[in-house]
């Protein structure tokens, strides 16, 4: 509950934030704080400096892109996404899934950027963004680069955001013909995730992304019918972790079921 001593800075521009992140060893960005503050309470892993992004209003916006996709500022909260007309128009499933994250208080503070950067295997958004083919914009001392969602997640609590870099935006392509579906088994309603799956289906092909079965979201592709999806999951050679909420075997089985259900949801959804 009691944090270690930490440095705190609240930059007023992205450039300043990036400079602070780059110049201070062990600095981490602080967005909504709904994961990092918790982790700091346990003191097991701790940043030395927190760079509070609260004043970077430009990262709080949600906008439609020219091609009808979504441009999510890293600081957009779950609550914002749930009520955003742009999200509803472009990829409404993002709002639906955001509404299943934790609870009102967390959704009021927690941000899309924080969710993907913490990459806790139980998070819902990483598989969803991989399925949708989102791209992450990172700004560092050497400028800006874009990383595709499927290359963004490197491990538990590990992402492509390098030292001195800041995730600023997440760009989700327009749905076009694609339809999105999501399904999860959680402990109780909206509790900790046991296994989840996001599916984006277009032109008879499904991108299936499984969460909580490995350190990073697992992307599979298959023909967009239940049998093929199930077969793809079975053939994926998953080696999920075992814990008190489910054995590896149970998770492997659930992965197949939630993938099939996410596909069904995608087909019913739009």
């Amino acid at each position: 509950m009691l944090l270690s001593e930490v440095g705190y800075a609240r930059p007023t521009s992205v450039d300043e934030a990036v400079r602070l992140l780059a110049e201070n060893d062990g600095a981490r960005a602080l967005a909504g704080g709904q994961t990092i503050v918790n982790v700091m309470k346990a003191r097991a892993a701790a940043p030395d400096v927190l760079v509070d992004l609260a004043d970077l209003a430009e990262l709080r916006t949600i906008a439609a892109t020219a091609d009808g996709g979504l441009d999510l500022g890293a600081l957009a909260t779950y609550a914002q996404m749930i009520t955003s007309a742009e999200v509803k128009a472009a990829r409404p499933l993002i709002a639906d899934v955001a509404a299943q994250i934790a609870d009102v208080q967390v959704r009021n503070r927690g941000t899309v950027g924080g969710n993907v950067c913490s990459n806790d295997p139980t998070n819902h958004l990483p598989p969803l963004f991989v399925a949708m083919g989102a791209a992450m914009t990172l700004v560092g001392p050497d400028g800006e680069r874009t990383v595709r969602a499927e290359e963004f997640f490197l491990g538990v609590y590990m992402t492509a955001v390098g030292p001195g870099e800041l995730l600023t935006r997440i760009v989700v392509p327009p749905a076009g013909e694609a339809r999105d579906g999501f399904d999860a088994v959680t402990i109780g309603a909206d509790g900790t995730c046991i296994v989840n799956a996001a599916v984006t289906e277009a032109g008879g092909q499904a991108r299936i992304v499984l969460g909580c079965v490995a350190a990073t979201p697992v992307l599979l592709t298959a023909a967009a019918d239940e049998d093929s999806v199930r077969e793809a999951v079975r053939g994926a050679d998953l080696d999920p972790p075992s814990d008190l909420h489910g054995t590896a075997e149970y998770r492997r089985h659930l992965a197949e079921v939630v993938a099939a259900r996410a596909l069904a949801a995608a087909r019913e959804g739009s």
Partner: protein
């Protein structure tokens, strides 16, 4: 601004402005309870699950154990102490909680009330499911939520005793 381990924080709490030097690592809930002596806001866990520490920051319900006090610099905060009107009466939610026996030990109650207030501020006529969703982040270990849900519904409808 270069990183600091302590800074001057100004916040408005329940309409009153406070200024204090606060360590960067101090959680908002400890700032409220220990530094401002507003002990109505409680702590029930150390992982942001229980919601006993719920307060409104700029009108939004948040868990004050998942926010550093320095992050609240410049913000306006409402705690349970702000609910009752100055004339000695109770806020309709407080009255409804008492009417419907929506509290036993009373430890979760301040956080629960603030979540309920946040709900009714944004949705004056919630359905039962909306009420349950609104307090999903507040754990109560005494009541099984039955009477809490009823009390919030009653407050919304103005069905509270005088």
């Amino acid at each position: 601004m270069e990183p600091v381990t302590s800074m001057r924080v100004t916040v408005t709490v329940n309409g009153e402005s406070h200024e204090r030097e606060v360590a960067a690592r101090r959680l908002l809930v400890h700032f409220l309870r220990d530094d401002l002596d507003l002990t109505g806001t409680h702590v029930g866990c150390d992982t942001g699950n229980c919601g006993a520490c719920t307060v409104l920051v700029n009108g939004a319900a948040v868990k004050s154990c998942m926010l550093l006090a320095v992050q609240a610099h410049g913000a306006s905060i409402e705690t349970v102490e702000s609910l009752a009107p100055a004339n000695g009466g109770l806020h309709p939610l407080q009255q409804a909680f008492s009417d419907r026996h929506a509290l036993q030990c009373g430890y979760c109650t301040p956080g629960m009330l603030m979540s309920a207030k946040h709900l009714l501020d944004h949705n004056p006529e919630p359905t039962e499911n909306e009420i349950r969703r609104a307090i999903q982040g507040n754990i109560c270990r005494c009541t099984g939520y039955v009477n809490i849900v009823e009390a919030i519904a009653a407050a919304a409808k103005g069905e509270v005793s005088a």
